[in-house]
Subunit: 379 residues, 2 copies
Amino acid sequence: MAFKEYLMIPGPTPVPARVLTAMGRQMINHRGPSFSSIIKEIVEGVQWAYQTKNDIIVLTTSGTGGMESSIVNFLSPGDRVLSLNIGAFGNRFAKIAKAYGADVDEVKFERGKAVDLKTVEQKLSADKDKKIKAVLVQQNETSTGVLNDIKSIAELVHKHGALIIVDAVSGLLTAPLKVDEWGLDVVVSGSQKAFMVPPGLAFVSVNKKAWAAHENAKMPRFYFDFKAAMKFAEIGETPWTPAVSIVFGMQEAIRMLKEEGLDNIFARHEKMAKAVRAGLRALGLKLLVEDDKIASRAVTPVFPPEGIEADKLRKVVREKYGVVLAGGQEDLKGKLFRIGHLGYIDKLELLAALAALEIELGTGVKKGAGVAAAEEVLA
Amino acid sequence: MAFKEYLMIPGPTPVPARVLTAMGRQMINHRGPSFSSIIKEIVEGVQWAYQTKNDIIVLTTSGTGGMESSIVNFLSPGDRVLSLNIGAFGNRFAKIAKAYGADVDEVKFERGKAVDLKTVEQKLSADKDKKIKAVLVQQNETSTGVLNDIKSIAELVHKHGALIIVDAVSGLLTAPLKVDEWGLDVVVSGSQKAFMVPPGLAFVSVNKKAWAAHENAKMPRFYFDFKAAMKFAEIGETPWTPAVSIVFGMQEAIRMLKEEGLDNIFARHEKMAKAVRAGLRALGLKLLVEDDKIASRAVTPVFPPEGIEADKLRKVVREKYGVVLAGGQEDLKGKLFRIGHLGYIDKLELLAALAALEIELGTGVKKGAGVAAAEEVLA
């Protein structure tokens, strides 16, 4: 058995001791003045991370619940929706919309590729009657490790007039997302990713255009209803009892992130992604995403060498070295493994994970080669 | 300002140090073997608390989300539902059902009274065509501090054939709820009440009859879909990333509760309720619920003396003594205050709260009278 654990999955990420300690705080009244001031601090912090002045809805739920809320609050059954699908979370977004009766035009792109802008342009310009009410897209697709060009997609959507609803759960803070400057109508994130907090809270930003759509949105909702949420947000509360401990954790995490600064946070994630890619390539491994420009700063999917099963390799590095990696999802299950490097994961832990792979991959690989290549990037 | 805080609201309850410490544990992979064994331990513990062998669904949500899930998984739009409404949470249950298109027959009982069995019998026997698909009811109504006779209500519902869906969020573990013996089809609870864990998780039990109804239930759902939940429950996982820290807390809390034993937990809550009622009466205060038999073991609503505003009194005892009490809800807002005494609240804290009220209520009240009366019960 391994002595220590290195959690390198794309969320939950490890949580800093400062955040864990903050979460050890005793319960307080979620309808009292102290709690209200914490909620206000968090909302302001999430706005900072989003680079927005839009309203922020705080929900006690997983990222998937946040995704659901970002659909059911702005659409009606029968509404046409364009789903830009580059992986498992694209599938999930489309499935949620379908479950609530949307008429989903699902455009699937090759796994490992980003959304193709020309396809989006064609789809939107072909919609002369403006039937498409919303475009669903991931900033970062966790299953394939691809970063979409949200800025350019948003420009195309603006020309058309539909809402752009962005799942930024795994992407937020790993790469810039300028919610106001890019005019993103609805953006979802979760506590357990680059915020470095345990799972349990989701955050959704809503701009004026989205609030106008909310007025006519008829998909049924209660727990996730944003009108109720907004009424309470004005007094620093949530309509239902929130995950108080996770709120305490968010308060501390936001303070840490602000100390680091947005540009440093983006640079840290960019460097980690570059380093792991250099290391894996030096080990002779094939990446799912060869194009560096669209490579995720949160997670890197990589194929095992010929003759080695991905999930068996994951099991060995977990049991022998304590390095916990993620498997493939959906079509990619068993075919590759994924190294998470977002949130509270340090560059030396990245080297440790590469070292474990190097030792375990055996004779075909030159010992130290992966670590050396990653060190070059990190230096 | 007060030096220490005594949180005496009906949830979140204070959390034992053992539970807070357990929650300080670092994140682990929610798709790995260690986490899976913890989920299995929790499910078994919740079954123990429910006195059931039914399936248990673990959700990352507030109690209200748990209530929503217990409706949308078992009903279709247009289904007739009988809502037995004795307070704010009865209102909420009905509102959720309406939001998803149910045809709700809402029977409101006087605030401070339990569900009247004769009315239920009449309603159900009048439904010759068996249009009523489900009966919604609270075990304990948090807003009015009333305990319903779930066993007798269930017997009436069984004669009719509808599903009985019980909101036991604030009632579970404060008074017996024999899910299997009483044949309760769907039962919801939450982590932040007598489980003594921070908010963030809800638990729903589902029996065979309810699973059969689930097969034909057409209300839209995705995040709260129990088919997805059950598929993952079988391998000790949840479909979406769960609130990992709250799961750690639940594991420890269930161990503590098992050490105490079910009968002792019920007896503790019963004694606390009796003591606070005796104390408040000795102070000359009027209780909303005069009938001891239906009085909640979780929370006691009480009117302030003539000429004193409930919310002003709450503010004073919070600021001067650190005693945090709950206000009235909906129609009762501003009219009364509520003392929470479920979960991790100790008998001496109850005396402390009574003492603070005694000091503050001033000349009309004999100092020590309330504490003395409560001590008599606790002795």
